[in-house]
């Protein structure tokens, strides 16, 4: 009975958000295009033969960056920007009255956006293969499922981190600047611009302790067939989720007590 109700809620939310997202197809297509930085990086790597020193062939590296592009496409999170706008405009108040945590709404928004984005990502990948026909490969089903799982876990980690930052809106009003600060290590340490294996030996062990390499580097290595520790990577992803979730719950309950609606 209860699970049926939750199912219906989630289904309705998803349906509403999906039709909402379809309205903004062009926006989402452009957004998909803006994620092509990994391909520029690939161009620098292979054009200067930088990959010889890290023992990754051109083909494996191009697969890596293609996968990094894909993982990034399906783990982009912007909840802090939506929440900040909603809380500044006072839209959070009606959400709080509803018997549903507002973050479910944002969560459904993200999932719906990913579904809308999927065809555009495929088109970009298609063009990539036209220019690099030698890098076509088919991962086996098990690996494919595992990498979809790890991409989803990566999305969850980022969603939790951003939700925690979003809750800071209850105190500071402008939390998006903190998100922009946190985006810098995400950009440089997640493997979007350079695979983490290429990092100097003195920083590598430290980076693997942070959540960042599990956001893009690990799922991309898994999908592209580069060497990686599957159980270790998944374990770390789950560990970070287990660490972040209680923190989010705590900050949420504290924040809602602090919340005062604008103009009331």
């Amino acid at each position: 009975m209860i699970s049926n109700l939750i199912n219906r809620k989630i289904f309705t939310l998803l349906k509403v958000q999906y039709s909402n997202m379809l309205e903004y197809r062009v926006e989402i297509a452009l957004w998909a295009i803006s994620g092509i930085i990994p391909f520029f990086m690939l161009n620098i790597w292979t054009n200067n033969n930088l990959n010889e020193s890290i023992n990754i062939s051109d083909i494996m590296l191009s697969r890596y960056f293609l996968c990094a592009f894909f993982v990034r496409q399906f783990s982009v999170v912007w909840v802090v920007f939506s929440f900040e706008e909603d809380s500044l405009m006072g839209k959070v108040s009606p959400y709080l009255i509803q018997p549903l945590n507002p973050f479910f709404r944002y969560f459904a928004q993200h999932i719906a956006e990913q579904i809308t984005r999927f065809p555009f990502a495929i088109i970009i990948a298609f063009f990539f293969f036209i220019f690099n026909p030698e890098s076509i490969w088919t991962p086996n089903l098990g690996i494919l499922l595992l990498s979809i799982l790890s991409t989803f876990l990566s999305f969850l980690i980022q969603f939790l981190i951003q939700s925690i930052i979003a809750c800071l809106c209850f105190w500071t009003e402008k939390a998006s600047s903190i998100e922009r600060l946190l985006f810098i290590p995400t950009l440089f340490l997640s493997g979007l611009l350079a695979p983490v294996v290429s990092f100097p030996a003195y920083v590598k062990p430290w980076i693997y302790l942070t959540p960042f390499p599990y956001l893009i580097d690990f799922p991309a290595n898994l999908l592209s067939g580069n060497e990686t520790n599957i159980s270790g990577g998944l374990g770390m992803q789950i560990l970070w989720i287990l660490l972040l979730f209680p923190l989010f719950k705590k900050i949420w309950s504290k924040g809602t007590k602090k919340y005062t609606a604008m103009g009331s």
Binding site: E27, S34, S177, P185
Partner: protein, 264 residues
């Protein structure tokens, strides 16, 4: 007479926007840390590229640092002036407040391009200049008058091109209403400006000098600093900058003909 009026208006703009931005003091501090981390991150990325190679696209590490410095300065300028103002156009058009701008007895392009200012960008500009002076020392560049004029000319041209690109995309809002993500696409392309143009493959080099002249923005000023630049390149940059400025102006006036206020 006329220019004095504009100067007076600009002083008022500065006053009001600084006053409103300084309301969020912690934000400015967070933005400063973001700028510093971002610079550290990109230098770290450069060291990864150079860890086993002496040259990338014919540039040494010390020389490539100049590009980083110029990129940081230009990015600071973007964050101080272009980003806060030109994203505002989107809002003006969506909410129909562009009417109020057009009714004012002042040039509309002047108003929407310079209304706001984000002081945290200044810190980034300063950071860029520090790095630039450091580069001048380690590359043993002697400063003389002709060098200074040339570098000043090329950097101003870069600023003009950058401004025109931003303004051009923001203007398209008049037709498409939502162009947030078009700006994101531009941002991701501009990311290329952190690296020497020669480090990319031939086709990308053509793309980034003919279609989107990002090549001109950072590479040519850096070449001037190193004394490598030929005169025709500098002349070409001046021509491109002039063409871009004139076209963006014309495009704005043309687009205004299509502006129909919101809800009318």
């Amino acid at each position: 007479m006329n220019s004095r009026k504009y100067l007076k208006v600009y002083k008022k703009f500065l006053h009001t926007s600084l006053a409103s931005e300084l309301e969020y003091k912690t934000n400015i501090l967070v933005d400063l840390i973001t700028a510093i981390l971002s610079l550290i991150g990109s230098i770290f990325l450069l060291t990864i590229f150079f860890q086993n190679n002496g040259y990338i696209g014919g540039w040494k590490f010390e020389q490539a640092l100049i590009i980083q410095a110029i990129y940081t300065i230009l990015n600071g300028i973007t964050n101080t002036w272009f980003n806060p103002n030109l994203t505002e156009i989107v809002k003006h058009i969506r909410e129909g407040t562009l009417d109020f701008v057009l009714l004012k007895p002042i040039d509309s392009q002047f108003f929407i391009s310079l209304k706001k200012i984000n002081p945290s960008g200044f810190l980034e500009i300063m950071l860029g200049f520090f790095l630039l002076f450091f580069c001048i020392r380690i590359n043993q560049i002697n400063l003389n008058l002709s060098f200074l004029t040339l570098s000043l000319i090329t950097i101003s041209c870069s600023i003009c091109i950058l401004y025109s690109l931003w303004f051009f995309i923001s203007t398209t809002t008049i037709w498409f209403v939502k162009t947030w993500n078009a700006i994101e696409v531009l941002r991701s392309f501009l990311y290329i400006g952190r690296f020497p143009l020669n480090s990319f493959s031939f086709s990308l080099r053509i793309f980034f000098s003919v279609f989107i002249p990002i090549a001109f923005i950072t590479t040519i000023p850096s070449e001037v600093f190193l004394g490598l630049s030929q005169l025709w390149k500098i002349l070409l940059e001046v021509i491109v900058a002039t063409v871009f400025l004139i076209t963006s102006r014309r495009f704005w006036l043309f687009a205004l003909k299509f502006y129909s206020s919101a809800s009318s």
